[in-house]
Structures are given as C-alpha cells and as structure tokens.
Symmetry: C2
Subunit: 340 residues, 2 copies
C-alpha cells in the first residue's frame, strides 16, 4: 500500500510517498519543488501530479494526505479563502481517498469545510508524529527554508500552547526564520566590522541562503529558492548580495570581510531561534531537543547547544532528504493511520 | 533660464525645474515617478524625458543636473557599473549641458568617468545646499520613501563624517528606513498586543506606507510605490497586509487591533531614526534640526522632539511638494551655480 503525503507551503511543496507492507514501512521516497504560492498558486494542481509522477505512477497511490501552510500567502485575502482554494484543488486531482491534517485529527473535505481554519498551518502536528517515536518527552525544532517550529512533546503527544500560527508566534513555538528565504534585515539591524557598526539596508538584497552559501554550509542544490537579484547561486554571487545589505559592493568589501559578516549573521540567526527555544524550554520544563529540517545542524542544533540542552537529530534515524521533508512524511503516516 | 534637477533613486525618480530670472528663483515646478530601477532601468531615458515634458517642453531647458542613488539597485553588479550606466543614459538624452552632483563639486561626464564612485549616492549633498540657507548650523533629516539622511551642517557647509552610503550607515548619517517602502520586519521584531508579544513574519507582507495609510497620516496619492501583495491602497487593504505580518488576517484581528499595532510600529520607526539622530547630535554638538522629505512631520519631527531638539521644517519655507523632492531642487540649484 502506497500513501502520499504533501506539505504545501507558501514557497515549497514537499512530497513523501511511503510504501507499506503489512503495516510496516518498506520504503520512503521524497521530493520537493519550489512553488511560490503568492504568484503561482494556479499551478498547484499540475505541480502535485508532476511531483508524484517523478517518483511513482499516480494510479499506484492508495491514499493522499495533505498538510498546508500556504493559506497565509498573500494571493489569498483570508486564511479561510486560502484553505478552501487549496483543498478544492487537491480534492479534484485524486480518485483515491484524500485527507487533511488538522490541529486535531485528519479531516475529510466535508469535515474541513465546516471549519477550514482547523487545517491552516497544521503541518507541525504531522512532524510531531515522527519525532514522538524518536523521543517521547522533548522539544522538536524544525527549521525549513522559511520558518522554524519549536514544539513541546510530552508522553508522546505534542502539547503546543499556541494552536494557530498567530498564537504560536507569541508562545515561542513559531519563529518566522529559515535556512534559505529569510531576509537578513528581518533579524539583523546592524553588523559590526573593524570596530564600526554598520546599519543594514532594508531591501531584500540578500537572504539566509546567501549566508550559508558563502560559509559553505549548504550546497547549490540545497539553495532551492530564487535569488533576490535573479543572479546565480555561486559563492561570489551570494557574497555580492550580502555586500549590498551594507550598502556596499565587492569593490568595497573583501572576501574576508564577507566571511566575517556572514559568520556574525549566522550567529544572530542561531540566537533568534535560541531565544524562542529558551522560552519553550523554560515554560515546559523540557531539556531534550530533537532537531530536523534543512537547518537541523547549522541552526537548530547550534541553538540548542547554546542553551546547554541535550540534542538528538532526526538525521540519526532518517536520511537528510527525509529530514528536509519531515512534515510530508508525518502527513503520509497520519493519513495511513486515518485509513484504519 | 530654466534648470532641471533630477534625483534618480532606486525606487523613485524626482524632478525639479527651477525658472531663474536675473539669478533669482522665479518659479519651481516639481514632479516624480515610481521607477523601480532593479527591474525597469531600461526605461530610465524615456521616463526622464516624459517627466520633463509633463511640466515644460524639453527644448526650453538650459541645463540638467543629475544626482543619483540608484546605482545600489541590484540590477548592477557594482556601484561603478551602475553610475556609468545611468550617466551615459542621461548624457545621450540632452543637448544642453549636463552635470552630475558629486561628494565635492558638480562633475561633467568626462570628470565622472575618472572616478564614478564620487557621484554615487551624493544626493544629500544637494539637499544640504537648500537647508544651509534655512539654518547655517543644524542637522537636517530628510526621510523619503525609502531612506533617511541625517546630515550635520556647520557654518553653512555639510560636514558629514561618512561620505559613501557604506560609511554613512556606520556614522548615523544614513538610516535605511522610509515613509513608504520599508519592510516592517526590518525594524520591528515583535509587536505587543493584549499582553502578549507576537513575533513578526519575515516576508514582505506589508510596508511602512500601509502603517501610515491606516493611521491616516498619508493619502492614497502619497502612496506612490507598489503594494506588497499587488492589491489596492485603501485603509482596509493596508490593514489586511499588516495583519499578515502577525501571521493573522482580518478575521482574527479587529480594526482596533490593527490601529494599535500600527501605532506601535510608527513609534518603533520614530525611535529607529531618533537613535541615529542622537548619535549625530551628540557627536557634532548640534541641537537644531531642519526636517524635510515626505516623512518630515510623521517621522523626522517626531524623532527630533523625542530628543528635545529644536525643530524647523523646510515646509515653513517651501511647499510640501517641494519638500518631497528636496534633493532634486538642490541638484538644480547646484547645477545653476556650476554654470556660472
């Protein structure tokens, strides 16, 4: 039996297909695509089919689970409008059963339309399913391309104090910062260099992917989003974008300057995550952390270590590709259980 | 004699045409256009001609002065490339003399090519010409759509410690924050509401123009840049964009909530400017301020008052339209003097 799980984000859509044999996982296949929902949401239906077909013929799929965060994209006036638009697109695509991850259980479309907001931004619920199997009492930190979920788990069940994105942004359980797409000026006000403090330019001149590119912490393949200036993804092109954030260019700043700046920005983003993690850890009395997502090593683990917390990685149990699409895997698992 | 002054910014191009009679200013006419140089720099030449023709037949113009900041736009790999590209476009357009505002004097194209960086981001030098006539010893603050210049003037001469944008971002003399285009997440990390502290979403979901629209401090005409979601510029549409910054929508947040959030963000931007102003004021021992630009009342004057500094406004001597394009007027004045 093959179950597909989609995690439809604002910028990336992730897919996991789990092949079960006698209720045991035989194989997990994953893929993802950069699909900016604020401008290309019309392409969602065809993109989902293409993603599946790259891995497996779509008529071999027995069930499809959907989790989403893309309803916040500014193509939609309200989250409700976004959820209904995305869900109706998905429903039309598949002949097999389709279910939607909610803040409680998996919902059918008929149940979803009663309360669309229940499925808004619930993908972290799916991730908690996988993490709870690794550690029954912990906080998991999942830093993706754009956002970071910091979710407490007790006795194998997620117990986030905030439920919606709005609520979680006040409880430390959602930090809108990520490994690739984050505008550097959102978490850095100024950068120290040679004894001076340079205020940053509040444009989208560079994003976090540029910082981790020049530091050699991600590959060009990892850099799956667009660049802010439309140029390439090499170290030099990333360095040029970072220079612009200080109203400078590569005539003014040397390679060593850029590395020093990038290192400072990296530490600032780790601290941003650590501040929220501390809030959750202190409140919940949890001191074990399980890290996942593309930023599991360069951001999550660094943040946890800076607070002296014990760190486990989903990477010790799953492949890097699987960690990157953790919510999609969790979504497929929840869909499988829903079918029982 | 008619002299045109252009201030070619990254986002806006401003024009002032000064009609002189016996070396006295008879009339000033102004206009501006939103011209995003990061994607429409090919349109610069035709835009400059159209702007002039809206006010005055181009063959009546006796000289053209150019100041620029657009060379930082990420359509250009380096500032040098940007300056040369813009200057050669300008030079081809006009048969009358053309001069370029530099950090020192006005330069001809032949002089400019010797050291293109001398004309990069020198428009504040032009503004200082006008302000020095209002107050010989002061700090002027010019908050435009995108950036804020904070420039000390002593004995009628600007004496900024930093010369380039890069240097000025470390001396308090350039704060990359403005009345319209500034991403709210660049200067706000979290927003308090009903006893909770909400972290912001690091997208470009809303800009400063949305805040001043909902607060009724700017008109729809003032809102001359694009909206972040491509929707309209009404109060409700601006409110919707601001809600998204808290991962919320107008189902979740009331009109009163949005006003409270906007008021907080307004104060945060005033403080951002006040911090830099204090740095310059303390260092230079100047306690008089002359404010100008679109944000002269809602941002500059508020920042100066918060520090107990004495405030004069360019608006007491010039019209609001003239204040909005102050660097363009200064550019025309410097070009006139250069011809002597």
């Amino acid at each position: 039996m093959k179950v597909a799980g989609f995690d439809i984000g604002g910028a990336n859509t992730d897919l996991a297909i789990i092949d079960y044999e006698n209720d045991e996982i035989k194989e997990i296949k994953t893929d993802f695509e950069f699909l900016p929902m604020w401008c290309e949401n019309d392409r969602l239906g065809s993109a989902l089919i293409e993603l599946i077909e790259k891995i497996c013929p779509v008529d071999e799929i027995d069930a499809v689970g959907i989790s989403m965060t893309a309803e916040l994209a500014d193509a939609f006036e309200t989250k409700t409008e976004g959820v209904l638009d995305i869900a109706t697109t998905c429903e039309k695509l598949f002949e097999c059963p389709v279910g939607y991850i909610s803040l409680g259980n998996v919902l059918s479309l008929a149940e979803l339309v009663q309360n669309p907001l229940e499925v808004a931004a619930a993908n972290w619920v799916a991730t908690s399913q996988i993490i709870a199997e690794i550690e029954k009492d912990c906080i998991f930190i999942d830093t993706g391309s754009t956002t970071t979920d910091i979710i407490p788990i007790k006795d194998g069940k997620e117990c986030a104090k905030g439920r919606t994105d709005f609520e979680r942004s006040a409880t430390g359980e959602l930090v809108y910062t990520g490994t690739l797409r984050t505008n550097l000026t959102s978490f850095v006000d100024s950068v120290p260099l040679k004894g001076k403090e340079y205020r940053v330019a509040s444009e989208l001149f560079a994003s976090s992917a540029d910082v981790y590119t020049v530091l050699g912490l991600i590959s060009e393949d990892d850099y799956s989003c667009n660049t802010s200036d439309g140029a390439g993804k090499s170290k030099e092109e990333s360095a040029r974008r970072i220079a612009r954030v200080l109203c400078a260019d590569l005539d003014i700043l040397s390679k060593e300057d850029i590395l020093e700046i990038a290192d400072y920005i990296h530490k600032a983003q780790v601290k941003q995550i650590a501040d929220a993690l501390k809030e959750v850890s202190d409140r919940e009395g949890l001191d074990k952390v399980v890290v996942t997502g593309l930023g599991k090593d360069i951001l999550c683990a660094e943040a946890a270590k800076s607070l002296g917390l014990e760190v486990k990685s989903m990477g010790d149990y799953y492949s890097d590709d699987e960690c990157t699409v953790a919510p999609a895997i969790g979504t497929a698992m929840m869909m499988k259980n829903y079918l029982k």
